[in-house]
Amino acid sequence: MPLWLREHRWHQTRTAVFLSLPLRGARAAPANIFCTERYLKVSVPPFLFEAILYADIDDKSSTAKIGNGNIFFTLYKKEPAMWDSLTLENADKEKLQYIRENAVLKAQERAKEETEAKKVTKQEHKKYALEATMKVEEAERKRIEDLKEKERQRITEELELWKKQQKEAAKYKSIQKEGELHQEIQQLEERKDEKMNKTRVPNEVTSKTRLKPTKGHGSCSIFSQNLKEEQLPAPRSAATIKVNFTPRVFPTALRESRVAEEEEWLHKQAEARRTITADLSELEDLKEEEKNPDWLKDKGNKMFAMGNYLAAVNAYNLAVRLNNKLPLLYLNRAACHLKLRNLHKAIEDSSKALELLTPPVPDNESARVKGFVRRGTAFCQLELYTEGLQDYEAALKIDPKNKNIEKDAEKIRYLIQGTMQGS
């Protein structure tokens, strides 16, 4: 329960009321004072002072001075009149309450208005600042443009001046030349024929075009040219220098290179060598060398050369079990199957080989040609001539210079035409 402060003293003039409020030791701050037009409250815990004023005051200009344990109010009256008392004496409780509430509401409204006003001013300030910066930047830009423009004009003027100078120099020179010519023409008359004969051979082409322009200029320039001729060395004796161009693993310029593909192919080859796909437990009873796919491939090749195709196939089979990524194994096995007339198997193997021979690079050209040719042969022997022809044409595309492939392709085409006509 706050303590009411009642020991206030006041006096007034026509326009102002002076109120003095002792604080009895408590400290006050501006926040503790609440004042509206009709209502004044000071709340410094535990003390409370409240006054419902006799008449309205102008609370905007009124002041409060805190100090010395006192608050000294200077309240300016709205209407200059003498008040009977500071507060409204005989007001009933309801009126008092109403006035209190009104005061609070009014204070709130005023606070709102103030914030609004502040917002608006802030906006305006921002806008102003923005415009100011824009102006400054614009000025800067203009300055730079002006500088550039000035440079440009200056240079144009310089150019014109220089051109004029050139023209004048040229005129001067030509006038000089004319003067000299008139002096020398007499001297030259006899000597000119002699000189012309001597120099006619090398100057053949040039003198033809030179004699056409005016006589003065013509003789002058021929004369000067003669002098120069004597000072210049003779044309160089002809020679040839042979050049070699930088070799590369893949002989193409960087822009033409298919480095990516070639790298891929090399990588694949390296990988293939390394993979061992077999299940070693089965093959434990094999000798060491029999586990090496290359050795097996060589064995197979030897068998093929001897005509023992079944043995060759066996060797290749084992090699494939050990390492199924070597295209050459499939190629060679396809050749064996061809000889054994296992045509479907031959087709299968050549297809597998061709699959492994991607990406297509110059390195694996010969292998691919073999693959296509073997598959083509198998197709033809199965009488699937169109497929066979396709493969032969693919082989021909890789190696256009191979006469055998061309001959065979021709034969197949002929066969196809024959069957078509027949049916």
């Binding site: 500088l147 075009t209 210049l232 160089r236 020679a239 050049v243 070699n244 161009f245 310029a253 960087l254």
Partner: protein
């Protein structure tokens, strides 16, 4: 680095739209005139002569030739004559007198395929020695011609019999500091750079920079060879220090990757041999400065002299077009004035400012 307004600026002075594809553009020496060489849509060659007047290019003359023209040079002609040497799509080398262009002053079917690049030395009052023209062609050969000798080249650099040929994309003369010395540098599409010595008629040095070489140029043709810049595909260029040749390692170099696209051309500023401009496939131009190292050569572990390459700094870069800028030429008379031709069928005259302050 200097604040941006104090660096050299590349200012576009005049822009001219053309009705044909321009492959090469060159200033006519001692004048404010420039030449554009190219190929018209109907498959004929076009030579146009423009004069720079104020803020415009005025067309003075247009010449049409039966075959499209790829490249041209004034390098081998005297200042009075100013004959233009051109290489065309058919492998013909022609030298024209622009006053009377109907019949060429010199003509030879030098190559079996398009002449990609041409250079001349010994003319324009620069250097000494016989005037010579070198052409590099798609048929893999590089030939040196003397305008006084008809039909046969005075030097021929061709692949060994049976060897597969590589296109020669660019050629340049260098080291022509007296009457006998001369070298030709050629760049090929597989990244080979070969240096031929014409005095001893031999291959002096070769190197491979992995990517096709689009353009080579010595910083000066008429001095003891000092620096060589070679540009290539994929945005790289190499600067070789040509003063010291090591017996096995060749010439020292520094390389820089400028932009993601091909660098089509490099041209040194005639008034300052350490500044050069590269033009790129993305339509951009980069201006570079080379700085020499503290010591240009040092001894290696066996005591042989080895060159030391310096460093390259970018002074300015600007994007002018969306199409590659395929040709570039500095004016020998006015410092900072240059012309460039791009595949968007425009030729632009540019001014590079503040080059005095470098």
């Amino acid at each position: 680095s200097a604040p941006s307004l104090e660096r050299p600026q590349v200012v576009s002075h005049v822009q001219q739209s053309l009705s044909y594809t321009v492959f090469d553009c060159k200033w006519v020496p001692r004048s404010a005139r420039l030449l554009c060489l190219g190929s018209a849509a109907r498959g004929t060659g076009v030579v146009q002569l423009y004069e720079l007047r104020g803020a415009r290019l005025e067309l003075l003359r247009e010449i049409e030739k039966p075959k499209p023209i790829k490249c041209g040079t004034f390098g081998a002609t005297s200042l009075q004559q100013r004959y233009l040497a051109t290489g065309d799509f058919d492998g013909n080398l022609n030298i024209w007198n622009l006053e009377a262009p109907e019949i060429p002053v010199y003509s030879v079917k030098g190559h079996k395929e398009i002449i990609n690049s041409i250079d001349g030395v010994g003319g324009l009052g620069i250097g000494e020695g016989a005037p010579e023209i070198v052409t590099g062609s798609r048929d893999g050969t590089v030939k040196v011609w003397d305008p006084r000798q008809k039909d046969t080249p005075v030097a021929n650099m061709e692949p060994v019999q049976g060897e597969s040929k590589r296109d020669c994309w660019t050629v340049a003369f260098g080291n022509a500091y007296n009457q006998e010395e001369r070298v030709v540098c050629a760049g090929y599409d597989n990244g080979d750079i070969k240096l031929f010595d014409l005095k001893t008629m031999s291959l002096r040095w070769e190197n491979n920079i992995k990517n096709g070489v689009c353009s080579v140029e010595f910083d000066r043709k008429d001095i003891n060879m000092n620096k060589l810049v070679a540009t290539s595909l994929e945005g790289k260029f190499h600067v070789f220090d040509m003063r010291t040749q090591h017996p096995t390692k060749g010439f020292a170099s520094v390389s820089e990757k400028a932009q993601k696209s091909t660098i089509w051309q490099v041209r040194h500023l005639p008034q300052n041999r350490d500044i050069f401009m590269t033009s790129g496939g993305s339509g951009s131009l980069h201006l570079w400065k080379y700085e020499y190292p503290a010591q240009r050569s040092k001894k290696d572990s066996e005591g042989a002299e080895m060159g030391v390459a310096g460093s390259v700094t970018l002074l300015q870069n600007v994007t002018l077009s969306t199409q590659p800028i395929s040709s570039l030429d500095w004016s020998p008379d006015k410092k900072g004035l240059c012309v460039c031709g791009a595949f968007d069928q425009t030729v632009r005259v540019l001014i590079v400012t503040k080059l005095n302050k470098i």
